[in-house]
Subunit: 360 residues, 2 copies
C-alpha cells in the first residue's frame, strides 16, 4: 500500500495486541462471493465467552405483554430465514487517519460477507407483544469487560421504527454451519446495512424500553465527534467502500505487488448500507483520472457487496498506485482523502494499492 511506505506516528504494542486478536480479511479472498470460514473480519471488545448451551436462554422482556424465554433448541426448531450480509467494522480505516485515534488500528480490510440464518427479530417481538410505549429494543451480550473505566456487558439498541429491523435476524448459523464461538455462538443479532457494532454477539437478552438507550456503546462509543467536547452523532449505516484484489504477486514484507506488463483484469467488491452500489470507478494514477468498472451481482442479496471488474493495460513498466471508488444509489461517493473524527469511525477514503509493473 502506498501509505505503508510513509509511516506517521508508530503503532503501539497495545494497538498491535488488538490487531493480533481482531483479524481483517485477506484481500485475495475478495474473489469469493462469501468469505471463507475463519477469514471474515472479527472485532471482539472483551473476551470470547464460553457458553454452556444447557443453561443458556434468550430472554425477551421489558415492555412486552408476554416475556419469552427460549433455549437454543427452541430457536433452531423454528423455520430459519437466511440473510446474506456484508458486514464491516465501524472503525475500518482508522489506522490511516492522522492523528490516529487510539483503538483497534484497522487499515481498511475489516469486512466480510456471510449467509446468516436464524429467526426474524420481528417474529419474536410480535409473539411477545410489544407495548405501545416501547421505542427501542436493547440487545445484551454475555461478554463483559471495561471501557471508559466502567465494567460493563456489551449492549446496543435499535429503534423499533428502524426499517432495517424488518430484515434483521437472530442468527444461530453462519454459512450453513453453527455459529463459531468468535462470531457469537450460540446467537447473535444481524441488522443488515449497519456497521458491525450493532450486531451484538453472544446474545442473552432483548429488553424493550420506552426511551433511547444511553449505554456506553451509544453515549460514549460509536459517535462521530469533531472534537473531544462535541456530543457527536451516532454511527449507524455503512458508507460506501470498494476494495480491489491486489493483482500480481506480493513482496512478503511490504505487500507491494509485482506484475508483468500485459493487460490484466482488475476485480473487487463494493458495498454500502445506504443503497445499492450503482458505480465503481478505477484509477491507475492514485485518483488523478478514473474509468468505470463493470458491475455484477454474484451474491444475490441487496445487503451484500457487488462484484466489479475492469480491464487495465499498464502500457508501460513502472510503479502505479491503483484505486477504486464506489458510489451508492443514495448518492454517497467515497472520498479520495480521509475525513477525520475523534473515534476514527467510517474512514472510507479510497484504497491505494501500489504495484510495480516489470518485464518478466
Amino acid at each position: 500500500m502506498e501509505q505503508a511506505t510513509e509511516p506517521a506516528a508508530g503503532i503501539s504494542l497495545d494497538e498491535l495486541q488488538l490487531a493480533a486478536r481482531n483479524h481483517a480479511m485477506p484481500l485475495e479472498v475478495l474473489r469469493q462471493p462469501l468469505t471463507p470460514t475463519g477469514l471474515h473480519y472479527l472485532l471482539i471488545h472483551y473476551d470470547i465467552p464460553a457458553v454452556d448451551t444447557a443453561t443458556w436462554r434468550l430472554e425477551l422482556g421489558g415492555l412486552v405483554e408476554r416475556p419469552l424465554s427460549l433455549s437454543l433448541e427452541d430457536l433452531r426448531a423454528r423455520p430459519a430465514v437466511d440473510l446474506t450480509v456484508t458486514m464491516e467494522c465501524a472503525g475500518n480505516g482508522r489506522a490511516r487517519l492522522e492523528p490516529r485515534p487510539i483503538a483497534m488500528p484497522w487499515l481498511g480490510e475489516a469486512v466480510g460477507t456471510a449467509r446468516w440464518s436464524g429467526v426474524r427479530v420481528r417474529e419474536l417481538l410480535d409473539e411477545a407483544g410489544v407495548l405501545p410505549d416501547a421505542v427501542e429494543a436493547v440487545f445484551s451480550g454475555i461478554d463483559r469487560g471495561v471501557e471508559g473505566d466502567v465494567a460493563q456487558q456489551y449492549e446496543r439498541s435499535q429503534r423499533l421504527d428502524e426499517p432495517a429491523l424488518d430484515d434483521a435476524v437472530l442468527a444461530h448459523s453462519m454459512n450453513d454451519a453453527p455459529l463459531l464461538p468468535q462470531h457469537g455462538f450460540p446467537l447473535r443479532l444481524v441488522v443488515p446495512g449497519w456497521y458491525g457494532m450493532t450486531n451484538v454477539k453472544w446474545l442473552e437478552r432483548i429488553t424493550l424500553v420506552d426511551r433511547p438507550f444511553d449505554g456506553y456503546q451509544h453515549s460514549t462509543g460509536y459517535r462521530f465527534k469533531r472534537h473531544e467536547d462535541d456530543p457527536g452523532v451516532p454511527v449507524t449505516r455503512m458508507l460506501p467502500r470498494a476494495l480491489l484484489v491486489p493483482p500480481g504477486i506480493p513482496d512478503f514484507y511490504s505487500r507491494e505487488r509485482i506484475l508483468g506488463p500485459e493487460p490484466c483484469l482488475l476485480e473487487g467488491r463494493a458495498w454500502s448500507g445506504y443503497g445499492e452500489i450503482v458505480r465503481v470507478e478505477v484509477s491507475a494514477n492514485e485518483g488523478t483520472t478514473w474509468f468505470d468498472a463493470d458491475l455484477e451481482d454474484d451474491v444475490g442479496s441487496r445487503w451484500a457487496w457487488r462484484r466489479w471488474t475492469a480491464e487495465w493495460d499498464p502500457l508501460a513498466c513502472g510503479r502505479f498506485v491503483l484505486c477504486s471508488r464506489a458510489t451508492d444509489a443514495a448518492g454517497n461517493v467515497q472520498p479520495v482523502e480521509s475525513v477525520w473524527n475523534v473515534g476514527g469511525y467510517a474512514n472510507n477514503a479510497v484504497q491505494r494499492v501500489a504495484v510495480t509493473v516489470a518485464a518478466g
Copy 2:
C-alpha cells in the same frame, strides 16, 4: 501486558498490514484442547492461492525409482492417519525484541493445536522408492511471492534421517473437516515438533535431492544469526513455551485484566518440540518467585501442548504481573528475558499478564 505500557520504537504500517492478515490465537481459547476453527494462528508468506482440484496433482519425483502423481481423490482414498500437533510460528515473540527485527510482529500468541489427517510422508516415499544417494526431500508450495528481491515459490526441505519425518503427514483434513484455504487446501505438510515454516501449505511437489537444499527459506530466512554477517544456524524445533489464560475481564484497549480478590484457578498450556513438558511454574511477581503448576494431558498426543493449572490467592488488592514458565524433558527452560537474534526467531521469554485485583 506489562510490556505494552512501555512501547519502544513504534510498529510501522507495513508491519501492521502483516498483523492484519496473519492472525494470532486469542488467549482465552487456550482453555480448549483443540483450537477452534478460524482461531488457529496463520502466517501466510504470499497470498492464499485459489487451487483448482480438477487439475491439481501432488508430484513426487527427483531421486526415486518410480515417480508418483496423485490427485486429491487418490490421497483421500488411502487410509488416513491422525496427528494432533501444537504448531507455533518461528517468529512468535519477535515484536518484544529490541531492537525489533522487521517482519511479521508477533507478540507471543502465534500458536494453535489441530488434529491433522492424511497420508504418512514415509508411505509415499517408500512407494516411490527413494534412491540411495537422496539425502533430503524438498517440499514445494503453489504460493508465489518476492522475498529478498527474488521472486520464488515457497519451499522447504527435510533431511531424510530427521526422526520427526517418521510421524509427518501430508494432511488433507484439519479437525475432521477438509483443509481451509488459508491452512493449505488441498494438501499441506505437517512435521510434528518443528516451527510452522516447515509445514509447507498448498503443496504441489516433493523432490528427492542428493545435497542440502539451499533455497531462500533455508539459506537466508529461518536462521539464527547473531549479526548480519553471521551465516547462522537453521531454525528447527520449537523451544518450550507456556501461556496462561488471562484471568478476570479485560480492559478493551489495554487488555489489562481486572479481577476480584478471591482465590482463582490460573490455567494455561505448554509445549516444546524437544520433548514432553515436565514442569510449569507460575509467578505472580514477574518472575521474582515461582510456584509449581499441576500438569495434565487432555489432548492425548505427545506432539501437543499439555494443560496446566495453579491455584492463586492474591491475598491483597493491587497490581500483579503473572508469568508462567515451562521446562521440557530435554532440560530446556524458558528464559525470563528475551534472547535477541537478527531474524527475531524463537523468542520464548516468559509471557507477562498484568492484572489489577480490586474489591467488587
